[in-house]
Assembly symmetry: C2
Homo-oligomer: 175 residues x 2
């Protein structure tokens, strides 16, 4: 058995449900599954690489309640988006430190499915872990699916973890 730790990249994102910066149901579930079922108590055998892809919203249409009266407002919004990503990574990094598994975390901008595959090619993890909403074919037409794309295109093994049925929100496209 080899000595180098198994490098596990976990792609994480924010929830679409509430306003505060907390992880999506599916990425939280994927992360927790990885620690509980794969890392277990063998923390020195694994290294967790946490990637958050920030979807750039240049027009700010996400923030429908915001008022933009000056260039500063746009800068503030961008700062706010950035700190949301940091809060998200802080959540996961704190969990890793609590159980004693080493980790790295970083943020990239762009289309999640493309950026995840690019980062796999660049960082060369042993494994990519993705949460999945487990949407049906009809739902996917409208909301897209990052995991389906990455299973096909990422240059490493891909572990896809669906949400538990009892965690699915009323609108399954939400997460």
């Amino acid at each position: 058995m080899e000595r180098e730790p198994t490098r596990v990249m976990v792609a994480v994102n924010e929830s679409t449900i509430k306003g505060k910066p907390h992880p999506s149901i599916s990425s939280k579930r994927a992360f927790e599954w990885t620690l509980e079922k794969m890392v277990r108590s063998n923390t020195s055998d694994f290294k967790i690489l946490l990637l958050h892809v920030h979807v750039v919203d240049e027009d700010g249409f996400d923030e429908v309640d915001s008022i933009y009266a000056s260039p500063d407002d746009f800068r503030d919004m961008r700062e706010s988006n950035k700190s949301k990503g940091l809060h998200l990574l802080e959540f996961f990094v704190t969990k890793c430190h609590e159980i004693g598994v080493s980790c790295e975390a970083w943020i990239k901008k762009g289309d999640p499915k493309d950026v995840i595959c690019q980062e796999v090619s660049r960082v060369r993890p042993d494994l990519l872990v993705l949460g999945s909403r487990g949407l049906g074919r009809f739902q996917k037409v409208f909301v897209g699916t990052v995991s389906g794309f990455c299973v096909k295109h990422a240059e490493c093994p891909v572990l896809t973890i669906k949400r538990n049925a009892d965690e699915t929100p009323s609108d399954p496209a939400d997460d």
Copy 2:
């Protein structure tokens, strides 16, 4: 961290390339990746569940060089098919015993993608591991894809492991 071992179901099949009963390139790769990168030296933390789905060929058209002159010939062919499956499982079970990870192995008949999902529902593993040929869209139309189906339909996390590029045979539909 929990005490029960993580139960990892690995679906294995025979190679389509040569006549002798040896594992397919992709299922061998998936199995070896699982031991090397996930189980590592923590053998008591994992249990490997090996499933081989035997594709029933009632007409015997697989065996183009065989001559059927009596009912016994068909029985002999069925016995031969059965022993092929046993040889296949023996290969994987022997490897598990060598490294000291506990395992179970069994054979089912039917359409692999359907049977694998049924067995996941019945056996409730923590994880399903599948080798994949990594075929493109055009190739999939003709040869089908077990992994794509199981990622969508299996009721547990699914780890998909593609063959290494240097292991791909001249006809990528072969395995």
